[in-house]
């Protein structure tokens, strides 16, 4: 596909199509192409074969699966995850590295997916909130901690907090409350109180230690 072509991803659906259905349709289409309502044509300079030139069609490892996807040069990982791979558990709050709602793990390390190019994470292991529960549907111990403690209110910030916590616990599985607070200080919440969130995350850490012992 040439850079300037915008493919209509869904052609045989009725005109009125909900955003969710559209996204599902796009996902079903396999190697995913640009959704025209979001992505403008991007014919910059023609492809060159200089060392380091990038291809648009890439394979990403997301939640243990290989996903083929058509990625623009300037596309952020959050955009790819949400609007091309349908993984809408990752939220976009600020799109400016200022809130943490978009936090995902890249090779086990928490990153703001709104602030990294998808092309930069080719070959890396990406884990989103959708990838935490086990195949049989059993929640991750930190997710369970959220339920145990009723940790969130609207929960828009929740997946970011959980991913930041899961990442932090890999470096320090038995943190004090103050250490965990510092470790997940790159995440904001606008409506719950941080004390309750910390209760949930501390409970999650405890759940995780217990799960790892057995």
């Amino acid at each position: 596909m040439a850079d300037h072509e915008i493919e209509q991803p869904v052609t045989s659906t009725p005109l009125v199509v909900s955003r969710r259905d559209l996204i599902k349709g796009v996902i079903a289409a396999g190697a995913v192409s640009s959704a025209s309502y979001l992505f403008r044509a991007s014919a910059v300079w023609s492809q060159t074969s200089a060392p380091g030139a990038v291809e648009r069609l890439v394979t990403l490892t997301v939640n243990g699966q290989q996903r083929r996807v058509d990625v623009m040069k300037q596309e952020t990982l959050a955009t790819t995850l949400r609007y091309k791979l349908g993984l809408t558990g990752t939220k976009i709050g600020c799109d400016r590295s200022e809130c943490g709602a978009c936090t995902v793990l890249i090779d086990d390390v928490p990153h703001y997916s709104c602030s990294i190019l998808t092309h930069t994470v080719r070959g890396k292991n990406i884990v989103t909130i959708e990838g935490l529960a086990s195949a049989d549907g059993k929640l991750h111990p930190v997710q369970q901690g959220v339920i145990d403690e009723q940790g969130f209110q609207c929960a828009f910030c929740m997946s970011g907090f959980i991913m930041a916590t899961v990442g932090y616990l890999k470096t320090n599985p038995n943190p004090s409350r103050a250490e965990l607070a510092h470790g997940i200080s790159g995440n904001l919440c606008r409506c719950q109180d941080y004390d309750k969130i910390l209760n949930a995350m501390m409970r999650g850490a405890e759940n995780l230690r217990r799960a790892n012992r057995v």
Partner: protein, 337 residues
């Protein structure tokens, strides 16, 4: 503040595998190219459409630029080493503690996991007029919006202003100056090594740049010499919020004390001027004296000589005076402690 647009405007992206390839690309595209390391300063500019490079050269795949190794009794830190790696490195923690503390004071955990030391020292100013795209001096225009009677300039400069009153916001820079770090630069003509304090420039030298890099140049490494390993260190950052917040001011000092007297000292502050300031006159004044509150008092007074406040940042003068005082005399214990 930030307005969320759909996606960034298009650019051509290169991810060169080696420094040589990166330098070749930068040489080829010159003014059209933007160097990107972690991208955490970069993306704001691109998303807000304030800077519109045609080509982005992403350094993330250049292995040789990342990592920390021992060299000549000191350390060499690759330019794309993340701040988190700098914070956690055992030798940096053990022998060059102010760098670890300074790097950890920056931004948020996720930003430190991705932001690089090279990007941290090369980041642009946070002046919001400039970052919002106002056509000021620094942007190539002929006025400063931060230095008018109604301007909001609480975070701006008290020293070294020349038309532009912006400050350098890096938290690692003053620590690197105190440690007498050397910056290694690849230019189209070859390699160049400069002292940390000479990497940064003020508006009097070039109002559109924060450092000496020219199009085509690459910062490849930062070297920490053995001279200051294990010295007596002080780092402090003052900010409004404990996370995500740029310094209102920070200070870093390294001292070697012999027989109760300051034998050698290096001292720097940032967010006071458009470049991190090494306070050489203060160093000269306190050498040979005891590192106590009285010496700190002298140092603090000397440090702020010539400071000129703007409408909302006069507090920075006593702030700087006190930070310098603490950096030399230490923090006095409260009477009841």
């Amino acid at each position: 503040m930030a307005v969320i647009h759909d996606v960034m405007p298009a650019f051509e992206l290169f991810q060169p595998p080696t420094v040589d390839d990166a330098v070749r690309l930068l040489g080829q595209y010159r003014e059209d190219a933007w160097v990107m390391a972690g991208g955490l300063d970069t993306f704001d500019w691109l998303k807000d459409r304030i800077k519109r490079p045609k080509v982005v050269v992403d350094l993330s795949q250049v292995r040789e630029l990342s990592g920390i190794r021992e060299a000549n009794g000191g350390l060499e830190i690759g330019a794309t080493t993340t701040l988190t790696e700098v914070v956690r490195h055992p030798v940096i923690r053990g022998k060059y503690g102010i760098l670890s503390t300074g790097a950890e004071a920056a931004a948020s955990p996720q930003i430190r996991n991705q932001g690089t030391i090279g990007g941290n020292v090369s980041q642009d100013t946070r002046c919001w007029y400039y970052r919002a795209g106002w056509p000021c001096y620094r942007a190539g225009g002929n006025t400063c919006f931060a230095d008018t009677p109604t301007a909001i300039n609480r975070e701006h400069a008290i020293l070294g202003a020349d038309r532009c009153v912006a400050v350098n916001p890096s938290d690692s820079a003053p620590a690197l100056i105190a440690l007498d770090a050397k910056f290694v630069i690849r230019t189209p003509k070859g390699e160049r090594v400069v002292d940390a304090e000479d990497y940064f420039i003020g508006p009097g030298t070039d109002i559109t740049r924060m450092n000496i890099l020219r199009p085509g140049d690459l910062l490849t490494a930062i070297r920490l010499p053995a001279d200051w390993a294990g010295a007596k260190f002080y780092f402090e950052k003052v900010r409004d919020r404990n996370v995500w917040d740029f310094p209102l001011m920070n200070v870093a000092s390294a001292m070697v004390i012999t027989g109760g007297k300051i034998e050698r000292i290096r001292l720097a502050v940032n967010a006071a001027a458009a470049r991190p300031l090494r306070l050489a006159a203060v160093e000269d004044a306190v050498r040979g004296k005891e590192p106590n509150a009285a010496t700190g008092e002298i140092a603090g007074r000397l440090a702020v000589q010539g400071a000129r406040p703007l409408r909302f940042n006069a507090y920075k003068i006593p702030l700087m005076r006190n930070l310098v005082k603490r950096a030399i005399g230490g923090v006095e214990q409260a009477a009841w402690a």
